[in-house]
Subunit: 146 residues, 2 copies
Amino acid sequence: MALKDRPDVSALTEIGIIAQLSNAALERSLPDGMSAAQFGVLTHFMRRGGEESPAKLASAFQVTKGAMTNTLQRLQAQGFVAVVADEADGRKKRVSLTAEGARAHEAGLMALRPRMEGLREAFTDREFEAALPFLKALRIWMDENR
Amino acid sequence: MALKDRPDVSALTEIGIIAQLSNAALERSLPDGMSAAQFGVLTHFMRRGGEESPAKLASAFQVTKGAMTNTLQRLQAQGFVAVVADEADGRKKRVSLTAEGARAHEAGLMALRPRMEGLREAFTDREFEAALPFLKALRIWMDENR
DNA sequence: TGTTATTGGTTCAACGTTGAACGAAAGGCC
DNA sequence: GGCCTTTCGTTCAACGTTGAACCAATAACA
């Protein structure tokens, strides 16, 4: 009984459930064939633009290289991403967003809108902002002490 | 750019990473062959005791029945849990903790201690408690609006 | 220079999960 | 009684992930 009543355990439990539900909701809302991981990569390119190597993407998303290989292969198969060899460094590849990838991201955003609006009706920006510093600190600690 | 700067998206992103890191840390700390899911079920029985049907466990852990079948089969194979048919209701089974399961949970707790202590050195109970109401509300909303 | 270490990317088996299908048992309702 | 509907648990393919092995290319250093 001492276990789950502890606030740290409770918080991590809640966080785990939220993550699961949020990811499931994301995948369910997204157009068919687009996973949350794929949408994340598309979002990354929409925000940052340009090119990125698979290894950089993997570390940006806290994911193994193998997982990123998988995600990129699926994105490439759908034509959402272009992958070319880096002639300056034979080990690397350069990944970039295609026009079709941008369209797919836009479609994903549209599909997500109703749910995001519902979320923003239920909670205020201020509530999320209030929670953010602690979440960020916790994430950083988890990252440094893994 | 408007996307990830939004506090709701940021919060969910942080929550997702925390959940991933926390689960990974949990699995790494636990004795070999014990998954986070299995440890969760053991913990449930240590706290509540008695018997529980697989369906109840599945809904308590927000997991599909198939996933719970899998977890229980592995627990049973290790002798951590006893599963018997419910003679009152031919559809149900009754799951209960074995003495060996209790020992395994104890061992899991021990293995987890260093990490939990580190976490409690880095953050105070008050910080977790302060974050809890919002997390709980968010979890409930996600659950109701899935 | 040559040798060793590191980095980048792929592949593979294993895991835990979902979602769907299924059969068996129980409940609800004329 | 009989017929739907719901509940329970299992099975199966598919997915995304990890961790490890591996090879190729580069970097570091003697």
